[in-house]
Symmetry: C2
Subunit: 148 residues, 2 copies
């Protein structure tokens, strides 16, 4: 059970972060990403193909091919990945599942959630991948550690 994002989206974000950290090496294969992030290879491959379609990553076919970011990391934000995979609607839906929840007909937590939802979008929109770079690298290097 996932909070906020689908597994697909979580994997997508992780893969994009990985690519941002490997940006000098220009290109990474799905196999490489899969091994590093412990994500099923075919799945991450599918996800990156989708992100190729939505213009966030580019790909190169054939031997020594793979995926790479289509823009400088200073121009990519996490929200781009989220929007591409899970869509933006998740941030507008009523958190208690009521239909037609709005400020005119609010559920008990409507206003509070509206604020938190907005802040979540902000969290994903404010920073670009380059601002995360150091944290990303440290995090990636600790994947698979028993304890950290």
């Amino acid at each position: 059970m996932s909070i906020i994002f689908s597994k697909k989206c979580e994997y997508g974000i992780q893969a994009i972060l990985f690519l941002s950290a490997e940006v000098e090496s220009q290109i990474c294969s799905a196999d490489e990403i899969s091994k590093k992030l412990l994500i099923p290879k075919e799945f991450v491959s599918k996800i990156l193909q989708e992100l190729t379609t939505s213009g966030i990553v580019d790909s190169k076919k054939g031997k020594s091919g793979g995926f790479f970011l289509s823009k400088p990391i200073s121009e990519i934000r996490l929200i781009d990945v989220v929007t591409a995979i899970d869509g933006f609607d998740i941030f507008n839906k009523c958190v208690l599942g009521f239909s037609n929840c709005s400020s005119d007909s609010p559920c008990p937590v409507h206003n509070t959630w509206a604020k938190l939802s907005k802040e979540t979008v902000q969290m994903l929109s404010e920073a670009t991948l380059d601002e995360f770079l150091e944290t990303t690298k440290r995090k990636l290097s600790s994947i698979g550690d028993v304890k950290n």
Copy 2:
């Protein structure tokens, strides 16, 4: 696709809110709740049975039986329902899906999300059902409206 809560949990919360608004009538059948909230009858019935097990609601079998809150509405909080159905772990998991995400090994949004997650728990913990009563009643009366 649900943000934060499973559909089961959303339905559970809605049902509890319904019971809080119908607290004078003492008892409501699954059929009644289902019709009002537009939730499949057998599903809401199952959920309320689970909430009976976890002590949030009580039930009465047989003709003119049904469900009712086991405590005064001034003693029930939304977080109780969430914990009973989806568990508390959802609030501790990494929002980007990294394992072992912690302040020692944070993902790029770890700290921001920790704050937002905490505030979400607060939103569900602060108020008791009686503090929501008016909003709840208004909301319930507008369910099924084409526009509101």
